[in-house]
């Protein structure tokens, strides 16, 4: 293992740690670890302490995972390195989720002890303008550009098919060396196109989710909150379009690499730059916008003992939304940025599982046949 893989590991773990560590701070002010609280209690000393504690725990977990991985990389055989890396990333995510669930329980108890739920108004708000008139996402027409990139990639593969070498690189390790090759065939040459199709569909799905999730509007400042929501949705819809475009272009570069127009090293750096850009943009966007624009400053807020949508009981462990009454497929997340699904809607669950299934099936198929 060399310096390059260390940099890669550091990047992966640092970005993962940063992504999770900022979560308690970018959420709505009327939610703490997935529990609805009166906005006026957001800066309550006890809540503040729980947030601080979670930050330190997140950082400690991140640093530990990073050190273990870097150390372990020097002891395991190269073939197992990627597997170890994946396991460590998953373990880190799992540790973060556990911390969240524990903090969620703690806040729930605190809410009960301090009787925040008692005689607080429980208000839910809808802004019909966003359901009938106003736009909350960039135009879906932009996604035609995906089609262009796709067609161009297919064209490159077909046009230069004859000059493509007999062995096609399929997998790269963290050092930027190829570890697996496939025999040249229409399928292996078109591998980047299949990946583009999947990624393109995935990003369009994310765009669609951002567009279709009902806005959660703050009861105390409905007008401002609507605007914040709109800013949030618009920015993330642009992000999902651009993020997908970057990924598609990366796979077009890989096609160029397969043909032999681009060197292995340059593809490696281009893809890394693309991924770093997407991660950095996501973090920057989370910090500046917050969940549903909670960090976008629009007007002043008055403080009242109001609980926005007392729906704690529908959130299992603050993470999974299950509400049979609610016809919504997608709902705004309680913790973190973005949207999640209503697990009480079978169709939504099917969509969600099929996205995961396609990813797994595709990677299994490619490792069997290519």
């Amino acid at each position: 293992m060399n310096i390059m893989s260390d940099i890669m590991i550091c990047f992966a773990f640092v970005s993962l740690t940063v992504c999770f560590s900022i979560l308690p701070f970018v959420g709505r002010k009327n939610l703490a670890f997935g529990i609805s609280i009166p906005k006026s209690e957001y800066n309550n000393e006890k809540i503040k302490r729980i947030r601080r504690e979670s930050l330190y725990t997140f950082l400690a977990i991140g640093i530990t995972a990073l050190l273990i991985t870097i150390f372990a990389f020097r002891t395991v055989p190269e073939a197992k390195a990627i597997g170890l890396f994946t396991i460590m990333v998953l373990a880190q995510c799992f540790a973060y989720m556990s911390v969240f669930v524990l903090k969620n329980k703690k806040v729930k108890q605190l809410k009960k002890d301090l009787e925040w739920g008692k005689d607080a108004k429980n208000i839910t708000v809808a802004d019909t303008n966003f359901l009938t008139k106003e736009k909350i996402a960039c135009s879906p027409k932009w996604f035609w550009i995906y089609g262009l990139v796709l067609i161009l990639t297919i064209f490159l593969g077909l046009y230069f098919y004859d000059i493509i070498p007999a062995k096609i690189p399929m997998q790269m390790n963290l050092n930027g060396d190829y570890t697996r090759f496939a025999d040249k065939s229409m399928i292996s040459v078109m591998y980047p196109v299949f990946t583009q199709l999947f990624l393109g569909a995935l990003f369009i799905f994310v765009y669609y989710m951002f567009k279709r999730t009902p806005l959660v509007i703050d009861a105390e400042n409905p007008t401002e909150s609507s605007k914040q929501n709109a800013v949030f949705r618009y920015r993330w819809s642009v992000f999902s379009f651009l993020g997908g475009l970057i990924m598609l272009v990366i796979f077009m570069m890989i096609m160029l690499g397969t043909i032999g127009f681009l060197s292995m090293v340059s593809i490696f750096y281009i893809s890394m730059a693309g991924v770093v850009l997407i991660v950095a943009a996501a973090i920057a966007l989370s910090i500046t916008t917050g969940q549903s624009g909670s960090r976008v400053k629009i007007g002043k807020t008055k403080e009242e003992k109001t609980i926005n949508r007392e729906d704690d009981k529908y959130w299992k462990a603050g993470l999974i939304y299950f509400n049979r009454e609610d016809p919504a497929f997608f709902v705004e997340k309680r913790f973190g940025i973005g949207t999640t699904i209503n697990f009480a809607r079978p169709k939504a669950v099917i969509i969600f599982l099929s996205v995961i299934a396609i990813a797994i099936i595709a990677s299994v198929l490619s490792s069997i046949f290519l």
């Binding site: 108004k121 208000i123 708000v125 019909t128 359901l131 009938t132 806005l215 949508r309 729906d311 016809p327």
Partner: protein, 124 residues
């Protein structure tokens, strides 16, 4: 139009939706011929049952405020369609009677009660 529902109130949710939309029509947050969100979208936005919204829309239709198109689109009717009828006057007279009875029973003065009505009438 912003629809605000207080789940902790005793008033039924469908009635609150109804009241909010009527208010929206009065203050012209929604204009004649404008569409209301679909039942599904409205219910999802408020995270309430679709039947609740259907019930509110059905009542709005019954009272002449909206029409439900064949594609289930709800649009606001013109003023004439929901202008008050004798039936309506009788109905609110009954409602007001109940309110007056309780208010009088609790010792509220006639002047104070009428003042409340006048104040609210002038508010919009």
């Amino acid at each position: 139009m912003i629809i605000k529902i207080d789940m902790s109130k005793d008033t039924a949710i469908y009635k609150q939706i109804y009241d909010e939309i009527v208010k929206g029509i009065l203050v012209r947050d929604v204009e004649t011929n404008e569409s209301l969100p679909s039942v599904r979208n409205m219910a999802a936005s408020l995270s309430v049952n679709m039947h609740t919204v259907s019930k509110a829309y059905a009542k709005l239709k019954h009272e002449g405020f909206i029409s439900l198109q064949r594609n289930n689109r709800a649009t606001i009717n013109d003023k004439e369609s929901y202008a008050y009828s004798e039936e309506y006057v009788m109905a609110i007279s009954d409602e007001l009677e109940k309110i007056v009875i309780e208010a009088k029973c609790r010792g509220l003065k006639e002047k104070d009660l009428t003042e409340i009505i006048i104040k609210n009438y002038k508010k919009y």
